[in-house]
């Protein structure tokens, strides 16, 4: 369980990102978001992350893994076919770009390729995009 301070920081980070995304939508659709709306969306996002985390954990454990992979994320997105389509497309893009990066790294040097800091890995898992990097 994280310390209460980091909890607040996470919430603030989510709130900031939600604000940025809402601004983009606002410019695109030519509407205004009230501060309360943005706060509500960020709170919803935060709680939804809780559900996502639990479900991803369950899916990974179901497949007898301790690491969440893109397969688990795809399973999470199965409920909505359009979302699943989008996520599958994104994950393919990421895997192909990862392959390119790995090849570049191999060419550059094999010595520089060390273990990543563990904090970065955890962040990657929650972002669900870089989960197959580690």
């Amino acid at each position: 369980v994280a310390a209460p301070g980091s909890f607040q920081r996470l919430k603030a980070a989510v709130h900031y990102t939600v604000g940025c995304l809402c601004q983009e939508v606002a410019e695109d659709k030519d509407v205004q978001f009230s501060k309360q709306t943005i706060a509500a969306i960020s709170e919803i996002t935060f709680r939804q992350c809780d559900n996502f985390a639990k479900d991803l954990e369950m899916f990974a454990r179901h497949a007898k893994r301790s690491t969440v992979t893109t397969e688990d994320v795809k399973l999470l997105a199965r409920r909505s076919s359009s979302l699943l389509k989008y996520i599958t497309q994104k994950s393919e893009e990421i895997t192909s770009s990862n392959m390119e990066q790995k090849e570049k790294k191999k060419k550059k040097s094999s010595a520089a390729k060390g273990g990543r800091p563990s904090g970065e890995q955890e962040a990657a898992v929650t972002e669900s995009e870089d989960s197959n990097m580690a």
Partner: protein
């Protein structure tokens, strides 16, 4: 006397072939019974028709979900664990409501016996795993 008896099987066989075309489904009387047991109020006939349709869709969705979960675990046989994942995802099984409690609450005794191991006399556990 023989001719009418022989004539009878012909329409019967045609009826049977018609039945074969229909997809297998849960008996509508059973659906009706279960539904009316839980709603505890009068239900119109049209509403039952809709409930039947819903249960058909439910089974379709259920099978595709179970297929996904089974493939995800690298198996080809649906197991109890897959169903538990499904029910967790549906919000039926939670940390506060384990699967065994649901089995105890909603299944009749003879089915419950098959799913929940019970210790009997002679230091035995049925069903043995």
């Amino acid at each position: 006397q023989r001719s009418p008896l022989r004539a009878k099987p012909v329409p019967k066989s045609s009826a049977a072939s018609q039945r074969k075309i229909r997809e297998p489904e849960v008996a509508s009387s059973l659906i009706k019974k279960i539904f009316s047991h839980y709603v505890k109020m009068p239900v119109a006939r049209d509403a039952f028709k809709i409930v039947e349709k819903c249960s058909e869709r439910y089974f379709k969705q259920l099978s595709s979900d179970l297929e996904a979960y089974t493939n995800h675990a690298g198996r080809k046989t649906v197991e109890m664990a897959d169903l538990e994942v499904l029910m967790r995802r549906q919000g039926l099984v939670t940390d506060k409501m384990p699967l065994y409690v649901l089995i105890e609450r909603y299944l009749p005794l003879e089915y419950r016996k098959l799913l929940i191991p019970v210790a009997v006399s002679g230091n035995k556990v049925i069903p043995c795993k």
